[in-house]
Amino acid sequence: MSLLKEPPPGVTVDVDQAHTKLTEWVVHMEGASGTLYEGEKFQLQFKFSPKYPFDSPEVIFVGEHIPIHPHIYSNGHICLSILTEDWSPALSVQAICLSIISMLSSCKEKKRPPDNSYYVKTCSANPKKTKWWYHDDTV
């Protein structure tokens, strides 16, 4: 409700998609104005497990355009602590979207993570199976 009533700027839920399968959502988002991602459009895919909200959803970027960002791998996986160990059941889809937009907006230089090619070759399809190492609070 709150996501639809007062979403963060540029965020919309693909309602038709969510209607066909409640446990998989696609959220369209736009880069915030005044940032490096202004005008760019991205799709985020949410997959909710039966344990949600006690377990975090699986959130990845999908589609043609994956944002180029030091914490976003080219396969769409996102290195963001609230998606795994800092997850809280009080977090909503809206809160996750806002965190990701914030992460994009604070980026100073568009580049892939330094280990991108290695990670993309070796990782699981599910980013929650990656043992993430959260070390960079600046972006």
Binding site: M1, S2, L3, L4, K5, V13, V15, A18, H19, L22, T23, W25, F46, F48, P50, Y52, P53, F54, D55, P57, S88, P89, A90, L91, S92, V93, Q94
Partner: protein
């Protein structure tokens, strides 16, 4: 009870942007008594704003409500399930303050009606804590002589190396209040005094017969 209803204007009109199964497993037993449960489906605008009393986890009106020391409201079943998820790192879902089963307070509203004792339910909700009010200041509080136990007198055998048994202490003062009967401390102190008494008697016999 997190149903996504599609209306003509193609907006999702259920409580939140939250996937299904959020509360199905935790609230199957009490959905019928939820005052806002049925009404919310008609669309958000005509429903009175109950969001102040929504559980921060399932987003329904809190059932078997408990509140954390940091002031955040939850259904006890929801919070219990979260605490079970991370037993070694129990934090408030809203503000990440440290919380635990002993640090939440149950809320008892008047309208809860024929509620059975919530502690009989599973998972049990922690009971309320009731602190006795401060005593109203006794007779001669400065000296403490008027209160039972304000004056204690310990006596032992006074032979030289064992002079430590002879103690005169606790002429009043707060530290001299004996523990209430029945508590663990009371039992321990009784046991200790019996042991010392036995040691004293043995020493006495030794003095007389040897």
């Amino acid at each position: 009870m997190t149903v996504v209803v599609l209306e003509e204007d193609s907006t999702i009109t259920m409580a939140t942007a939250r996937a299904p199964t959020a509360s199905d497993s935790t609230h199957s037993d009490n959905s019928s008594s939820n005052p806002s449960g049925g009404g919310a489906e008609g669309g958000g605008d005509d429903v009175p704003d109950n969001s102040n009393f929504e559980c921060n986890i399932c987003l329904d009106t809190a059932k078997d409500a408990v509140i954390s020391m940091c002031g955040h409201l939850f259904c006890w079943p929801c919070l219990h399930q979260w605490l079970e998820t991370r037993p070694n790192h129990q934090t408030c879902p809203v503000c990440k303050a440290a919380i635990s089963r002993d640090k939440v307070i149950p809320l008892y509203g008047r309208g809860s009606g024929n509620q059975q004792d919530p502690r009989d339910k599973l998972p049990p909700r922690p009971s309320g804590q009731r602190t006795e009010p401060e005593p109203q200041g006794g007779f001669m509080p400065g000296l403490g002589l008027g209160e039972a136990g304000g004056f204690q007198f310990h006596f032992g055998i006074g032979a030289f190396p064992f002079g430590i048994f002879t103690t005169f202490n606790n002429w009043g003062g707060a530290a001299a209040v004996p523990p209430a009967p029945g508590t663990q401390q009371y039992q321990e102190e009784r046991f200790l005094s019996q042991v010392l008494m036995a040691m004293g008697l043995l020493f006495l016999f030794w003095l007389i017969f040897v």
